[in-house]
């Protein structure tokens, strides 16, 4: 740089250099920052830019349908919409709230509550404001799509139980996975917010029924307005479940228990396939398809009749006289009942210094096994129990599956109880009194069974000693492995089961206690039970339905080659032969329907008993 001739009139060169240095520093800082943003952190920002513009919309996979054994749908899905709030696109919360309250009828308290509960969730996660909305709400949201892009409709397939409360305890219901279920890993493939089976086969076969969720990636602008579709992955529907239930039979069974409290179940004793299972009162699982309200839940869970409980497997009762079938099997197999064993019944008997009564106060006179079963004579079985002893009774009962879970494919099954001296020592810390054996002999005392247990036991005797595993699954689509249902072949003589069946046939067809189950032309075998809920003396002064006896009936048909076994149980129903037997009859009637061939009428004679 050469100095200009009139340097004094120019600017100070030194100070210009300072200015130049300052400018250089400024540009250096800016460049370094750009290098940092675009080169060092560029990839990171690229991801954020991508997330910025893409909204992932989950497409919930419909669960698999559930059908009866003939393919008639019991549970399907229907399309529905939830109203969702995307908080990240809210411009003005006051305005959004006003819209939700005034146009969509959301209560301000509920809205505040929802927002508070979701405060810690990511802003990008939509909040479900309203579930399963109607056409009015759908059109309001659609019309205001542009000015309220933060409010969206989310399509959700919803469970539709076609027949409402029918077989509700078998089918179960679904709900959002709970925190405990996540913590315990109950459903290893489910994530928070997913819908899982909570009860019934919905729960047991959740893995089969659950489909594969898809997703849709929408291009959105800064206000969340959808600008186009980037990618879509279709949701894959869950596997279909075919149950062993027979819809027509189930309908009949449901009708029998309408207005009552109790259980009814029918199975094929040859395979263990459950053809019908009813627990009353029932509930409508559709109520669980949307987020169930606290009041709704209270009315179900707080109902003294416990409608959410499956009485066929989740509650156990004294079997009463139907236990005599088990007693007969024990006596026959252990040689305690010969072909000519007779007991004289005069209406009461003294055992171990206690008087035990027969239901027939006048007494049955001389009774053999056939009459004892058919007429339900207590004295015969008191005597048999005394001679057998509790150990042998318990061993036979347990081999017939009493006192342990049947292994049915439903959750929360109760084991029931078959008492024994060891059990009493362990559970009550007391020795076994011989008098208790006498009570157990007629199904009273500590013995308690679930309806399904006794049905399975009687079914095993009906088919000559084949103890099956009752089950509901006929076929599952995409199942990882074919289900196997263990069968135990009991060491039972054909003549023993034959004699028991004969007694039960008499009970229904020869003016025995089960005559109300009789259908002309059908060889139905059955045994009734009437369980006192309190002693006969106190019963005389107590009034009211809650003191009525429990009623049982268990039976099967046809007598030879049985293909269906039925158990009916009514809480406080009164006499088993009056309350329970007609219910079973209707189930048999529906099952056999037109197959009640006239040819069978000719067989309306007592079968020859091997002597």
């Amino acid at each position: 740089v050469t100095l200009q001739p009139e340097a004094n009139r120019q600017l100070g060169q030194q100070r210009l250099k300072w200015l130049c240095a300052f400018i250089a520093v400024v540009f250096a800082i800016l460049s370094v920052r750009l290098w940092q943003l675009q080169i060092v952190e560029g990839a990171e920002f690229a991801v954020r830019a991508e997330q910025n513009r893409v909204r992932a919309i989950p497409l919930v996979a419909p669960r698999g349908t559930i059908t009866d054994r003939h393919g008639a749908p019991l549970v399907e899905n229907r399309g529905s919409f939830n109203v969702l709030l995307y908080r990240e696109y809210v411009q003005d919360m006051a305005e959004t709230s006003r819209f939700l309250v005034e146009r969509l009828g959301v209560s301000p308290e509920d809205l505040q509550d929802l927002l508070r509960r979701n405060r810690s969730a990511g802003l990008y996660q939509p909040i479900v404001i309203k579930q399963d909305v109607g056409i009015e709400d759908i059109s309001i949201v659609e019309v205001h799509k542009r000015d309220h892009p933060e409010i969206q409709l989310g399509p959700v397939p919803r469970r539709a139980y076609r027949y409402g409360g029918l077989a509700a305890h078998v089918l179960g219901y679904v709900g959002e996975i709970s925190e405990q279920e996540i913590a315990r890993g109950t459903f290893p493939e489910a994530r928070a917010g997913d819908l899982v089976g909570k009860f019934g086969v919905e729960r047991v076969y959740n893995a089969v029924l659950t489909g594969k969720d898809g997703g849709r990636q929408m291009l959105v602008d800064s206000r969340g307005r959808e600008m186009g579709l980037l990618a879509e992955e279709e949701a894959v529907v869950g596997g279909e479940l075919r149950l062993t239930l027979d819809l027509e039979l189930q309908k009949t069974a449901e009708a029998q228990l309408a207005g009552k409290v109790g259980a009814l179940a029918a199975l094929d004793p040859r395979t263990g396939e459950i053809l019908a299972m009813v627990s009353a009162p029932t509930f409508d699982p559709n109520r669980f398809s949307t987020r169930i309200s606290a009041a709704d839940w209270e009315s179900l869970a707080g109902d003294p009749n416990k409608p959410l409980q499956n009485r066929a497997i989740q509650n156990s009762y004294s079997p009463g006289s139907i236990f005599k079938v088990v007693m007969a099997e024990a006596g026959l197999e252990d040689g305690m009942i010969g072909s000519d064993t007779h007991v004289y019944c005069n209406g009461a008997g003294v055992f171990y210094n206690h008087t035990f009564r027969c239901a027939q106060h006048k007494g049955h006179g001389y009774v053999d096994l056939r009459t004892a079963i058919a007429r339900s004579c207590n004295i015969f079985f008191y005597d048999l129990g005394r001679r057998l002893g509790i150990e042998r009774i318990a061993a036979h009962a347990q081999s017939l599956g009493l006192g342990r879970r049947t292994g049915v494919d439903l959750p929360n099954e109760r084991a029931g109880l078959m008492p024994s001296p060891e059990w009493k020592q362990r559970a009550r810390g007391d020795r076994w009194y011989p008098g208790e054996t006498i009570s157990v002999s007629i199904g009273q005392g500590a013995v308690s069974v679930t309806p399904l247990q006794i049905l399975r036991a009687v079914g095993a005797i009906a088919v000559g000693g084949k103890l099956t595993t009752p089950h509901l699954l006929l076929r599952a689509e995409n199942a990882r492995s074919a289900p196997s249902w263990p069968v135990a072949n009991l060491k039972v003589n054909a003549s023993s089961t034959h004699r028991i069946r004969d007694g039960m046939w008499g009970g229904v067809n020869e003016w025995g206690t089960g005559h109300n189950a009789q259908i002309p032309g059908l060889d139905i075998c059955g045994k009734t039970g009437t369980v006192q809920v309190m002693s006969a003396e106190r019963r005389r002064i107590a009034r009211g339905a809650e003191f009525e006896d429990h009623s049982w009936f268990v039976g099967f048909a046809p007598r030879d080659n049985p293909e269906i076994a039925v158990v009916a149980f009514v809480e406080h129903g009164g006499k088993g032969g009056v309350a329970a037997a007609p219910m079973a009859r209707e189930v048999f009637r529906t099952h056999f329907g037109d197959r009640r061939a006239p040819a069978m009428l000719s067989q309306l004679t007592p079968p020859a008993t091997p002597r």
Binding site: V1, Q4, P5, E6, N8, R9, Q10, L11, G12, Q13, R15, L16, W18, L19, C20, I23, V26, F27, I29, L30, S31, R33, L34, W35, L37, Q38, I39, E41, G42, A43, E44, F45, A46, R48, A49, E50, N52, R53, E88, L219, V220, D221, S222, R223, M227
Partner: protein, 363 residues
């Protein structure tokens, strides 16, 4: 005075080309983000502004800069009157009452007043014979700049008002500001800054606070900074390509055609583009520095230094804000951002500098 052959030869074509390139970059970015949207009128208007501003530039260049300074008293008085008028009848845009409507155009007189202040101060300082400034002269200079600055501040346009400060500082520095006065001023500023903080409005305080922690309030004040950083950063080395910048295209960037045009450019053109743009701006700054050095008299040098200070201030504040180093302030990027008043002011100011450059030889 006529443009003779020598003057024409002295016209710095490369510098002029750099200015046109900056405007072209601005036009490209505006086209990219506004075409096909409800803002699509911006491109055409900006193109018209550029053409008009270039014509004005050539007119300014045509005259010797001394001519403007000869009439500076009248121009200065008129400007102040205009500012006063704006205060009375001005239109509010974004809460700033700094716009005036003339015919079909809205116009921001404060943009042009800055140049008038530069000319007035340059004339005053250049007539001082000594190499250093006495306190009285420094204060008089402060008054010349301070009055229009005060008026602009009254309009509520704090950002524009702030631009008078670097003009005054740089020109005083070159006029021979004493070290003693620098220290006194620095001390005074230090004392005054807490007072100044208290005088700021809440939204202004918030803007400053969010620079230090933009994620603290991502939906409000920090939002713009974060979105701008995402836009620039995601451009990476080569950029996403023309009309491919999702941040700009989908409206995540605020004021994408005006204050944040640098982010749009950086997103679509990457590091190469953003540094290239910076280099172009630096080139213009260096041209002005050289012109200031070579100016034939103090008046010319002073004018160029004033314009340079204004230019550097704008570039620093705008780019600094867009890349998350400085608070959000409504300061456009010279020659690039959409906006007629700002563009016109830039070309007029640069025309004055070019005029100085063309007449650098003493004859």
């Amino acid at each position: 005075m006529n443009i003779n052959e020598r003057l024409l030869v002295s016209f710095d074509w490369l510098w002029f080309l750099a200015l046109l390139s900056l405007s072209a970059i601005g036009l490209l970015a505006i086209w990219s983000t506004t075409e096909g949207t409800n803002l699509n009128s911006y491109f055409g208007r900006q193109l018209a502004y550029v053409c008009f501003a270039v014509v004005v530039f050539l007119v300014v260049v045509y005259f010797d800069y001394h001519v403007y300074c000869d009439f500076i008293n009248i121009i200065y008085a008129t400007s102040l009157a205009l500012l006063g008028l704006v205060l009375l009848i001005g239109r509010s845009i974004h809460s700033n009452k700094s716009w005036i409507k003339m015919g079909g155009f809205v116009f921001q007189p404060s943009e042009v007043v800055k140049i008038v202040a530069i000319l007035a101060l340059a004339k005053y300082y250049s007539e001082i014979e000594r190499d250093h400034l006495e306190l009285g002269e420094l204060l008089t200079g402060g008054l010349i700049v301070g009055v229009p600055m005060g008026l602009v501040m009254l309009q509520g346009d704090l950002g524009t008002a702030m631009t008078f400060v670097p003009i005054y500082a740089a020109m005083s520095f070159l006029a021979g500001l004493k070290r003693k006065h620098v220290l006194i001023t620095a001390a005074a500023l230090l004392v005054a800054s807490p007072v100044g903080w208290l005088m700021l409005k809440d939204h202004q305080k918030g803007r400053i606070q969010t620079v230090f922690n933009p994620e603290s309030d991502p939906k409000n004040l920090g939002y713009q900074t974060i979105q701008s950083e995402i836009a620039i950063g995601s451009g990476q080395f080569l950029g996403k390509g023309f009309k491919r910048g999702s941040q700009g295209q989908l409206g995540f960037l605020p004021a994408r055609h005006t204050d944040f045009v640098f982010a749009v450019w950086s997103e679509e053109r990457g590091f190469v583009g953003s540094v290239g743009l910076l280099a172009l701006l630096l080139f213009v700054a260096l041209r002005m520095l050289r012109t200031a050095r070579d100016a034939k008299d103090r008046l010319g040098g002073m004018i160029v230094v004033g314009v340079l200070a204004l230019f550097i201030f704008h570039v620093t504040i705008n780019v600094g804000m867009v890349i998350g180093l400085l608070p959000i302030a409504g300061i456009p990027l010279p020659f690039v951002s959409a906006g007629g008043s700002s563009l016109l002011a830039c070309y007029i100011a640069m025309g004055l500098c070019m005029s100085v450059r063309m007449r650098r030889y003493v004859n």
